[in-house]
Symmetry: D2
Subunit: 317 residues, 4 copies
C-alpha cells in the first residue's frame, strides 16, 4: 500500500443547494449522513467512511478541497514533511466532522487538498444496516445507487507541474498521460493503488487555475451506467456524454451536469495495474483525435467546461 | 395476432395487505394507480393499461382471477361463444375499474378468468410523465423497477385438461411441455404471442384445484434480476430460488415469496417463437431431473408450494 | 399471429465476398449452413430456419431481396392475391434452398420481396447440437454470437407509399413514425408481431430507390452489444455508431459497416407491443432533433449512406 | 503497494493434458504463449506478463507451485530473508521461462511458492496486437474470454497456521475469515492489494496437505459469468456451482471442473478495500449455514473436493 490510502471526502460547492442535494439523493442515490451549517454530508452505500462528499452552498460551483487519507499516522507525517518542504503547505487544522487533524496544502495549480489519517468508520443506523456484514450500508437501489466516490479529475493550467508534484510529494504512480505534438502534457492519470486512476489532471482550456473537471462515482456494472442514463433522462439532468467507453484507462462512463453546474461521472470498468513497474502509457495527439474507445467524439464542452465556469468566455456545458 | 392479446390484470389476494403493498411498491417498484375498497391497483412502468395487478386483502393468499384481453371486440365475442359452449362460462359482468364488460369463466381446474376487450389506456399524471413518448410512464428505478406483468403460472390437478382448454377454447399455442414416464403431463407452457410463455400450467403436488404457483414480472436485463436479488436480501424478502436460468423456455429467474405468501418471479430472457408451426418441445422425466439450465436444482418447496397453501400438508415455502 | 410470421431470409450483396464472409463468421459469429454458386448461407444460433442470410458476391453492395414467411399456406395465398391485385407482383418462382415456392413482388419503392410459406426447419449437425433441446443450435459464443436476424431497415424515396403498402397489402402494424414539419414522412417502424419493429422504412436522402439502410441481428443483452463494439474495434470494422439507445422503439444499438459496405446493426432491447390497438407514436421534427434517447447525435452518414451507395454524391459512410 | 505485487503464474497439473488444454483455450478462451516439454504456457488477454498459467501433464491433478511477484528487487530480498528465517525456504533456482531467479518455499501446509521479481512483460505478436495501447493483447472474445488470473484458493489442514504465515512472512492483509464455534478457523481471505482477496485458505475436509481448491480467472462483468455458464454447458464441462454471488467477499462466481479434474472459477465483482485499517470481517458458523449471498447452498463436493483428490475417500466433484 502506498502512503496515500485513497482520496476523499471532497467538498463540492453549489449555487443551487436544494436542487443539487435532490440530485445526489434521488438521482445518484446517495444517503445523507448529516448536516452542518450550509453543508450536507453524503455517502454511497459502499463508502467505508462516514461520508465521501460534502455538499456546500456557495456563490459558484466548484471543488473547495479534496481530502486524502494517508495509510498510517507515520505515512501522514512523512507526507506532510515532504509537502511542507515543497513550500505549498498551508498548515494543520482541527479535525472536521468525523476525522482527526488534517494538513492543508495546494497543488501547484492551486487546488486545495486536506491530508489526514484518523477518521471514523461508518456505523449504519438501524434502517440502513446491511444484510451482509462485509458491506458498510444497506443497498437500497434508489436512483443510480452509486457505491462510492471513485476518482477526481481536476483541471490545471500546467498539467505537468501538478502531476510531478503528485508523484514526488504524494507518491502517486502515473499510469497514462497525453503528450501533444508540441511536447506539452494535456492529461495525466494517476493512482495510489492498483486502480487505473484515482486522481486525474487535464489541461484547463482557458489556462485558469484550481478548477474542477468532474467527480466520479463508482457503480459495479456497465448496466448500472446505462440505467443511470435513463434516470438522468427522466430527471431532466443534462447528459453531457452518454454512456460509452474511454480509450484512456478504459473506464465506462456517463457524464452529466448536476443542477449546481458541476460535472458528475457515473463510472465502472477499466483495468487494475498489477505490474509494479507499469510503464506509463503515452497517448499522442493523433491517437486522441480518434475519439473514445468506440470512436465517440465527446462534445466540445467536455474539453472546455469546468467549475467554477469562466464567465467571460461563456464557458457553458 | 391471436384472439387473446395478452393476459392481465390479475387480482392477487393477501392476508397481509400492508406488508404486501410495501413489497410491490418498495421492493418490486410498482406504482399505485388507485385504491378502491380493500384493493390497491398497481402497475409497472411499462404497462400500457392503467394497472396490471389488483392487490386485495383476504383471509388467504392466492389468485382471485386472471384477466385476458381479447384482441378485438369481434375476437371477444367469438371467444365467449366458444367458452360458453364448453359449459365453463359464468356470464358477463359490468366493467371493473377502467375496463368494459367482462365475461367470467373457469378453466377445468377451477381458476377464474375474466375475458374483456374494452379498457382504458394509462394516462400518466404529471409527476409520472416519461421523457420518451413511446413509454407509458416515467422510469424511476425504485426497487426492482419491474416493467410489466409478464406471465402467470397456475397449478392444476390435471394439467392436460386445462392446457387443452386453453388451446381449444382460447387459442393459446403450446410451446413446451413436460411428459412424465407414466404418460401424464406435469407442465405446459402456453402463449398467445411470440413470447415463449404467457400462461403456464404445472401439476399441483397435492392434487388441489385452483391454486397459483407464481406471478412473473418482467425486467429488461439479467442484471436487473441480480439487482432484484440484492433488494430481496436487503428487504428481508424470502428468496426461494436465487437468480439462474430455466431449462424450459430459457427464462432467467428470481423467485421470492411476498409477505402475503404468494410466490413472485422477476424474469427476463427466453426466446421468441417466430415459427408459425413451432413443434412443441417435450421434456422427459429424466431430462427434468437434470435441474435448470446450469444444473441448479430448485428447492423442494418450488415443486409443492402454491397459494392458497394446503394447511394440512404443512405446505410452506 | 398476423398473416406474416416473420421476415427473412435476406440476400445481401457484397463486392468483397471473402472479407464480408469473414465478418459474418468471425466477428458476428454466424455459422455457414452451406454454399451454392457465389452464395454462402449463414445463420445465427437461434434461427429456427436453416439460414437467415444469403451472402452473395456482386459488383455493388445492397440487398437483393427480403424473404417474408407467411403464417400458413392459406395466409400465403391471401397475401399473394392482395399483392397481385396491387399490380406490384412479379410471379411465382421455384423454391430456393430449403424452402417451397415463393411469390416475388416489389414494394412501391422497388425493393424485392419473396413471400413463401413452406420451409425447412434447421437440423443441427452433430458438432452444432445444443445442450438444451429448445434451442436450434449450439451456442459457441464466437465473435458477437448474434442469435438471429431481427429486423431490416430499407430506404425509400417515398416512405409513406411503401409504409401504406406494407400495412394494407401485407398486414403490418405501424408502431412509430416520424412526421416532419412539412407533413412528409421521414420514417416508419412496422411490425407483424408484438416486437416493436421488424420492417423499417426511412427516407432516402438522395431520393434514390430500392436501397438498404441496414440489417439488424439480435443479441439477448446490452452487454453483448458493448462486447460486439470491442470486437468491431479489434477486427478493424468501422463503427459508425457506438452502442447507445434509440429514442424511437428504444432499441439498444451498435452500427458498423461490414467490409462489403453494408451497414449492419447488432441490436437488443426495445419494448413489446401487447396493446392490440396501440396508437402509432408520431415523432416531430423538433423531437428528432434532440438525438437518440440519451442525447447522442448520430453522424451525418447515418442519415445519408445506404447500399448501393450513390457514387456521384460521394455517399460514403 | 505492498511487498508482494501479485500472485501468478501458477503451474497446474493435469492427467488429461489434451482435454485440459482444449478447455483453457476453447472454453476459457486463453491464448497459448508457448510450449516447453510437457508444459503449455497460457495467458488471458489482460495478463501483463507473458503467461499466468503453466499447464503440465502429470499423473494427478493439482497445483505444482504458485508464483508470487515481489514489488521490487529490494522487496524480494526482504521477503526472502523473512521466509528463510522461518525455516520454510527451499532455496533459489534459475529463472524459468521469461523470468529471473526465484526463491522457492513452502507454506506451513506444504504448498510450494516461487517468489521472484524480474520478469518479461508480454509483447503481443502481430495477430494479437490490441487496438488500444493500454491493453496487453487483442481481445478476441473466444469462449469465456477470461481477462487474467485473479486469485488462488488452496486447502489447508491448519488454516490458521498458513494464514498467519502469509500475513507475517509475506505481508498479506486478512480481509475476511470464518471462525467456527469451536474456535477453529475454516477459511481466510487474504490480499496484498485493495482487491478483496487474492490468496484464500480454506480447511481441507480430509485434513490432507498441499491441495488446491480452485484457480479463479477474472472477467469484467457478471454477464460474462452467465455467458461462461452457457459455454460450460455447451462444451459439456461439469458445472459444480452455477453463477451466483458469494456472501464472503461478495464475488460473483461460476465453478466448473476442468477435464483434468481441477476446479476452476470464472469470477468478477466483489469490493475494493480502501481502508488501510480494514477490520477483518469474521463469519460465524451460523452465518455460514445461511448459504451464499442469495441463499444458494453450494453442493457438498464444494466443501470436500480438492486436487489431487483423496482416492480412498472417494473424493469426487
Amino acid at each position: 500500500m502506498s502512503e496515500i490510502a485513497h482520496l476523499g471526502p471532497v467538498e463540492l460547492l453549489t449555487p443551487s443547494a436544494e436542487l443539487s442535494l435532490a440530485f445526489f439523493v434521488d438521482v445518484l442515490g446517495m444517503e445523507i449522513e448529516g448536516r452542518d451549517g450550509g453543508s450536507v454530508y453524503l455517502r454511497g452505500w459502499g463508502d467505508y467512511q462516514r461520508y465521501s462528499l460534502v455538499l456546500s452552498e456557495s456563490a459558484q460551483p466548484g471543488m473547495a478541497w479534496l481530502g486524502l487519507r494517508a495509510s498510517s499516522q507515520a505515512a501522514l507525517e512523512r507526507r506532510v514533511a515532504t509537502v511542507a518542504a515543497s513550500g505549498l503547505g498551508e498548515g494543520w487544522s482541527e479535525g472536521a466532522r468525523g476525522r482527526g487533524p488534517s494538513y492543508g496544502f495546494r497543488d501547484p495549480d492551486g487546488h486545495r487538498f486536506e491530508l489526514y489519517y484518523e477518521c471514523d468508520r461508518y456505523e449504519a443506523p438501524k434502517h440502513l444496516r446491511p444484510a451482509l456484514k462485509n458491506q458498510p450500508q444497506r443497498y437500497l437501489g434508489r436512483g443510480a445507487a452509486v457505491k462510492r466516490l471513485d476518482h477526481v479529475n481536476v483541471l490545471a493550467a500546467d498539467v505537468r507541474a501538478s502531476r510531478e508534484f503528485a508523484q514526488q510529494a504524494l507518491g502517486y504512480r502515473l499510469h497514462e498521460r497525453i503528450e501533444l505534438d508540441d511536447g506539452s502534457e494535456a492529461g495525466a492519470w494517476l493512482s495510489a493503488s492498483i486502480a487505473a486512476h484515482e486522481l486525474i489532471y487535464t489541461r484547463d482550456a482557458y489556462g485558469a487555475r484550481g478548477r474542477l473537471h468532474h467527480l466520479a462515482f463508482w457503480v459495479d456494472t456497465r448496466e448500472e451506467c446505462l440505467r443511470a442514463a435513463d434516470l438522468f433522462l427522466e430527471h431532466d439532468i443534462q447528459i453531457e456524454a452518454a454512456p460509452s467507453k474511454h480509450a484512456i484507462a478504459q473506464g465506462f462512463f456517463l457524464y452529466g451536469i448536476e443542477p449546481g453546474g458541476n460535472r458528475i461521472e457515473v463510472t465502472t470498468g477499466g483495468y487494475l495495474v498489477y505490474d509494479p513497474e507499469h510503464p506509463t502509457v503515452v497517448w499522442t495527439q493523433e491517437e486522441r483525435a480518434r475519439g473514445q474507445a468506440w470512436g465517440v467524439h465527446t462534445v466540445e464542452s467536455f474539453h472546455t467546461y469546468g467549475t467554477p465556469p469562466i464567465e467571460a468566455a461563456g464557458d457553458r456545458p
